[in-house]
């Protein structure tokens, strides 16, 4: 798991064991916040890694990824409002494309 506790609107968790390094999420990510790892995982794939900052939580990478659980997208819970911004279904997020 790579998880970078930045105070962005969104956050990505990428399971490097499930990721096969196809790169579709990197292509799909509107703010380009995903990179390809330099090193290989246990299975010999280079994997996607969160760049550590810039995630908006739009969820587009999740739907572009062919693996069921390689990517988990999180959204910030705001201290002021105490609520999560509206859940992104990946459909509205298409506006980024």
């Amino acid at each position: 798991m790579t998880e970078t506790p930045q105070k962005d609107r969104g956050l990505l968790r990428i399971d490097v064991d499930e990721c096969k390094g196809c790169g579709l999420c990197i292509e799909a990510c509107p703010p380009k916040a995903i990179d390809m790892s330099e090193h290989l995982n246990h299975y010999g794939y280079r994997t996607a890694v969160y760049a550590g900052a810039g995630c908006t939580g739009c969820g587009i990478c999740f739907m572009a990824c062919p693996e069921p659980g390689a990517i988990t997208v999180l959204r910030a819970v705001m201290a002021t409002a105490g609520v999560v911004p509206a859940m992104n279904t990946g459909i509205e997020g298409a506006a980024h494309a």
Partner: protein, 486 residues
């Protein structure tokens, strides 16, 4: 947005509930799919799982998996799973939905599966408007078997079976399944979507959900064709494959909605409520209380009956009915009986014949190869069977002149213009019953009450019943007139 306001993070996109947490049916690497990196199947699987989650139908869902790369749908989907033969998922899904209308039945097929070997099954399931959902993944190639041409392969596209590229002259044209099925009246929703970029993927998501939702609402047949990627066989990177869908495949297979009758469609009628079990014998017409009771004891005359009858004539002369009345009367009288027709095209035109047995003993063979009584309703039928009549037997012949060369010393003949007799009675078609009347004089032991009962059961039209009764009586009279001594 001010980053200081962020207090915590919560998951908004993650593994669907409708996927197994761990793929335990998969022999190894149970934390990831068996698909190649970048394969479109994984993306489509996620769309489907998400639709199932969002519609709250996981317990009700039955997924019918195909043969091809996506054969292992049951590794992943935590729903009821059935794996179908190549191309047959629509037939399997049809039966499951028909018998379990409360379930949500989803067929998942590739382009080889659906558009080649299963072309008939998808066409007819769509045409019947089965209330099922079909996800059709089109990547223009047979992937699992190693890259052979599919009906959907593009013109010029190389495959292991089109090494120089597909040529329309020899391999025909890419098959437009969505357009083809949209010409039918059965489907309610058909849309082609793609995995070519974020926008296409978002639309595909909506379409998949809609196709499942249509079924939840009971609207009918929905099919979503997804232009999908096969980076491995296409020999492209996953990203290049995605672009190829958008830039190349879409030129041949335009995206869009090809059929949408969801507004007009009405929820389909479910199965009729099943009757209670005790009503079923009655509904089948086999309930004892509705059946006549056969004679319990056999009179000596009935006991003596042992008939081997062959009835022959042209189709339309009532050959089979004559035999049936005789058999039915025998059953009513408490005898063992059998009735065996000639069948097939010849019963619709040309010659027709039947074998009838009546006996107080168990009937061994229902085949009457050497009849004791031959009823020949025309000359060709006489000539076909006259030599088979057993010595001491009878021929009842419909014709004034019995052909001299058919005369046998060991067989008795009643030859009369029975058709004319019937005509004089009111309808030439009653000829068979006049001849039966004559026959019954030979088979004397059969009680008139049984014959009346048989006629009553088989002749529903009262006008015909009256005529047939007259015809039988006339036949008896004619026989007695010719053979007063018998």
């Amino acid at each position: 947005m001010s980053s200081e306001l962020v207090q915590d993070y919560t998951v908004v996109q993650g593994r669907a509930k409708s996927f197994y947490e761990r793929f335990e049916r998969k022999p190894e690497l149970q934390h990831q799919t068996h698909f190649c990196p970048g394969c479109g199947h994984g993306i489509v699987h996620k769309m489907l799982a998400r639709a199932i989650d969002e519609l709250g139908i996981q317990d009700k869902t039955i997924l019918v998996g195909p043969v091809g790369c996506s054969v292992f749908t049951y590794y992943y989907f935590d729903v009821g799973n059935v794996q179908a033969a190549h191309g047959r998922a629509p037939a399997v899904a049809t039966a499951m939905k028909r018998s379990r209308p409360e379930s949500i039945v989803i067929g998942y097929q590739g382009d080889g599966d659906l558009s080649a070997i299963g072309a008939a099954e998808i066409l007819h399931a769509a045409n019947r408007g089965e209330n099922i959902t079909v996800i059709f993944v089109n990547n223009a190639i047979y992937s699992m078997t190693g890259g052979q041409a599919a009906p959907t392969t593009l013109i010029g596209q190389k495959s292991t079976t089109t090494p120089e590229g597909r040529r329309s002259l020899t391999e025909g044209y890419p098959m437009h399944v969505s357009e083809l099925l949209a010409t039918l009246q059965g489907p309610v929703y058909i849309e082609r979507v793609g995995l070519g970029d974020n926008k296409q993927i978002a639309q595909a998501n909506r379409a998949v959900r809609r196709a499942v939702e249509n079924q939840v609402k009971g609207l009918g047949f929905s099919l979503i064709e997804v232009l999908s990627t096969c980076p491995t066989i296409w020999k492209m990177s996953a990203v290049d494959a995605q672009h190829w869908v958008r830039d190349v495949m879409e030129q041949t297979f335009p995206l869009g909605v090809f059929c949408d009758r969801t507004k007009e469609a009405r929820p389909r009628r479910e199965l009729e409520a099943a009757p209670s079990l005790d009503r079923i014998p009655g509904l089948l017409g086999v309930a004892d209380q509705e059946l006549p009771e056969a004679a319990a004891t056999l009179s000596e005359a009935v006991q003596a009956i042992d008939l081997h009858v062959r009835v022959a004539g042209f189709g339309g002369q009532g050959v089979l009915l004559l035999g049936e009345v005789l058999a039915e009367a025998g059953l009513d009288a408490g005898l063992e009986v059998s009735w065996l027709p000639s069948y097939g095209p010849e019963m619709r035109s040309g010659t027709s014949n039947c074998h009838v047995r009546l006996s107080s003993q168990t009937i061994d063979s229902p085949l009457v190869t050497s009849p004791g009584i031959l009823v020949a309703m025309n000359e060709p039928s006489l000539r076909k069977f006259d030599k088979s009549v057993r010595p001491g037997g009878w021929v009842i012949y419909n014709g004034e002149e019995f052909p001299p060369d058919c005369v046998r010393e060991d067989v008795r003949v009643l030859a009369l213009p029975f058709t004319q007799v019937a005509h004089d009675l009111g309808d030439a078609r009653a000829c068979n019953m006049v001849m039966l009347g004559a026959l019954l004089e030979i088979a004397k032991g059969l009680p008139q009450a049984s014959i009346d009962a048989a006629l009553g059961r088989l002749i529903k039209n009262t006008k015909w019943l009256a005529l047939d009764e007259r015809a039988l009586t006339r036949g008896r009279e004619l026989f007695r007139g010719s053979f007063p001594e018998v």
